[in-house]
């Protein structure tokens, strides 16, 4: 979830960092001006109206999906039932939030914001629901106060149908989407992974793998899939970059984005046995992309391959619910194009990303989340030298979050589809951009970036 980079004190320094690091798409400082970090996802009230069901039918807390929520998505968002099925499938979301960073940032947490303790706002409009008998959509447009822009956000339009294979149910379909793994139904993959909402103002580590958000909203992908016997999920697909003109039209500033040369193939395979109130998913996902760094032609392409493994366990009880998610991504970066352009020192780098998270919900009302992340990779002076004194992308830490969700079993009488999450999140860094202490060579410790983030997340 670290698509957003560090907004540092001097714009010129920022540009230099961005120039160096964006070159190999997987490792971004500052990409977040382009790839927005609050990527919430959602207990969409329009889905609740369409199905007549309460948020808790599809969501454990939210936005984590229950087994039924996964089937709703895999069946193309087309299940109906509710008396309000015929209403336009529109929904809105608003997230006023507050950020406190352990150490104030001279010059402001972002342009136009104070040095610390800043309020910000993000809001979205959704089209979410059935379009035709077998076609449905999740389409999000977002306004972000940081950096005061409107842009298209996560989008997943799909066709789905059912049949029989070997005497068992087969759900099959195809998803057209704009962010690798945004079409996935498990919360162990990046697009819908924890943390579900994060500060856009706080500093975040520079490095992130490609599949963890660096292509979000910059690509279009087509992913045919099958889900057999409620047990085996398989998907292959491919992603293509949108043109700079298209990106601009959709509110995503093209500068700094890398383009995929041709088609980037992607895959997903998962197994999910179920017993009693338990489900356990184990799977693999990933993609391989030839990337033209910063769209600068003439030096060929970098070749980036992400191989991910993930698992999710869920127990949903009448009073207590638990879930555990883990993912591990190995990234291989053949950076020959970046090296030729003087954007990276090595012709080959690697990056490993580990994310773990556990959640407990009491009566779908009070939730406690604990997450751990660890990003490790090869050192590269040109790639990381501007942020890291030892040229290293290594970062690790903990993410704690306490949630209160009063309306998962239905909102107030005047608008029963209201959902709300009040959250308090704390990120504690053990290591930040290469070291625990003095990571930037200017005496800054990793703990200086520890972040307290409070938010009120409304969906209606």
């Amino acid at each position: 979830m670290f698509g957003k980079g560090r907004v540092s004190e001097a714009a010129s320094k920022f540009s230099a960092i961005a120039y160096a690091v964006l070159s190999v798409a997987p490792c971004l400082v500052g990409a977040a001006l382009y790839i927005l970090d609050i990527r919430p996802v959602h207990a969409l009230p329009s889905y609740a109206r369409q199905t007549g069901q309460q948020c808790a039918a599809c969501h454990n807390g939210f936005p984590e999906l229950t087994p039924y929520g996964r089937l709703f998505k895999l069946n193309g968002y087309t299940f109906t039932g509710g008396n309000y099925s015929n209403w336009p499938p529109l929904a809105m979301m608003a997230i006023p939030n507050f950020t406190h960073v352990a150490q104030s940032q001279p010059g402001g947490l972002a342009p136009g914001f104070g040095n610390n303790n800043d309020f910000a706002f993000t809001g979205s409009l959704f089209y979410g629901g059935k379009i035709f008998d077998h076609v449905g959509a999740f389409i999000q447009g977002t306004y972000d106060q940081v950096p005061n822009a409107i842009h298209w956000d996560n989008t997943d339009i799909r066709y789905a149908n059912t049949g029989q294979l070997s005497d068992h149910e087969l759900v099959y379909g195809v998803s057209l989407n704009n962010n690798p793994t945004v079409n996935d139904v498990w919360n162990s993959t990046p697009a819908w992974g924890y943390p579900y909402v994060a500060s856009q103002l706080a500093p975040t580590p520079a490095a992130s793998t490609l599949v963890e958000g660096l292509l979000a909203q910059q690509v279009l992908g087509l992913n045919p899939y099958i889900y057999w016997n409620r047990l085996v999920y398989a998907e292959v697909g491919g992603y293509r970059t949108l043109s700079p003109w298209s990106l601009s039209a959709l509110g995503i500033p093209p500068p700094g984005t890398s383009s995929i040369d041709g088609l980037a193939p992607s895959w997903r395979l998962a197994l999910e046995p179920a017993w009693g109130n338990n489900t356990w998913e184990v799977g693999t996902f990933g993609l391989a992309a030839s990337l033209v760094p910063q769209r600068i032609g003439g030096a060929g392409s970098n070749h980036v391959t992400d191989v991910g493994f993930d698992t999710q366990y869920e127990f949903l009880g009448a009073r207590d619910s638990f879930s555990l998610q883990a993912r591990y991504i190995l990234e291989y970066q053949d950076s020959s194009a970046s090296q030729a352009l003087g954007l990276s020192s090595n012709s080959f780098n690697n990056l490993h990303s580990l994310h773990l998270k556990g959640t407990y919900y009491y009566k779908q009302m009070i939730g406690l989340n604990v997450g751990y992340f660890n990003i490790q990779g090869s050192s590269d002076p040109l790639l990381y030298g501007d942020v890291s004194a030892n040229n290293s992308p290594n970062s690790s830490g903990w993410i704690f979050e306490l949630d209160y969700i009063p309306f998962n079993y239905g909102g107030p009488a005047f608008w029963p589809w209201l959902n709300m999450k009040l959250g308090l999140q704390y990120i504690r860094y053990n290591k930040f951009d290469g070291a625990s202490t003095n990571y930037d060579g200017a005496g800054t410790n990793a703990s200086a970036n520890n972040t307290l983030f409070a938010f009120a997340w409304f969906a209606f």
């Binding site: 609740a48 199905t51 007549g52 069901q53 309460q54 808790a56 039918a57 087994p67 039924y68 089937l71 709703f72 069946n75 299940f79 109906t80 039932g81 509710g82 008396n83 099925s85 059912t162 005497d167 068992h168 149910e169 016997n229 409620r230 047990l231 085996v232 197994l271 999910e272 046995p273 179920a274 017993w275 009693g276 109130n277 356990w280 184990v282 799977g283 693999t284 191989v307 493994f309 698992t311 949903l316 009448a318 591990y328 190995l330 690697n350 490993h352 580990l354 079993y409 239905g410």
Partner: protein, 222 residues
């Protein structure tokens, strides 16, 4: 030991961790191969006119009404009249226990009377899930209540209405093979009137939590 460890660690190009992940994946493959989905007798074919609806029902109640999660009752082999009464009650908001509101009010909101009858007939015709043998003291105590009742607490024997084998009868639901957690929740809901039913409220209001658990353990074994 040290030598052996270092020898094994010898080709460590990178602590990529792929092996543990792969091992986990393969374990799950094996587990899935032995695992639970799709077991049980062959289902009776779905009538074409309700096939789409049955597919949605099966999201929670399982193929043929043989659900895995105890959040959702097993419908396979359930009494047709009982299913008609419940679906109608969901649609008309007459059954209002918490899970009914979360899931079924929406699911049933637009069901027509003929569709309700067709769905009920379909699930009634499915082969039920066999009971899970249970030799526990709880199940034995439950059997006592099920067959004899608790006269001192004015609790009649369950079998009078639900049948000696828990098969049910018309508007009295089949209980045999049902998830015990589901049965417990329903008895609690009857007792608290969260699920309004005069007969079952009278029968359940004097039951203790232990007695409810015992009954649920027994009917699951039938």
């Amino acid at each position: 030991m040290t030598e052996q460890s270092s020898a094994q660690g010898g080709g460590r190009a990178d602590p990529l961790g792929g092996m543990p992940a792969l091992a986990l994946f393969l374990t799950a493959l094996g587990l899935a191969g032995c695992g639970g989905a799709g077991q049980g007798p062959q289902a009776v074919a779905v009538p074409p006119d309700v096939a789409g609806t049955v597919h949605v029902c099966s999201s929670c109640h399982g193929p043929g009404g043989r659900s895995i999660s105890s959040t959702f009752p097993r419908l396979a082999g359930q009494q047709k009249d009982y299913l008609i009464a419940q679906l109608t009650a969901f649609r008309d908001h007459k059954r209002a226990d918490p899970h009914a509101q979360t899931y079924m009010w929406g699911m049933a909101a637009r069901l027509s009377d003929p569709t309700i009858v067709a769905l009920a007939a379909y699930y009634a015709a499915q082969p039920p899930v066999p009971g899970t043998p249970d030799n526990s003291p709880e199940a034995a105590a439950g059997r006592e209540i099920y067959t004899q009742g608790i006269p001192a607490a004015n609790v009649p024997a369950c079998m009078v209405c639900h049948g000696g084998k828990g098969e049910g009868n018309s508007a009295f639901p089949r209980l045999a093979g049902q998830h015990s957690a589901y049965i417990e929740r329903q008895l609690e809901a009857f007792a608290s009137n969260a699920r309004a039913n005069e007969i079952m409220h009278a029968n359940s209001k004097n039951l203790t939590a232990e007695q409810i658990r015992d009954i649920a353990a027994y009917v699951r074994s039938l």
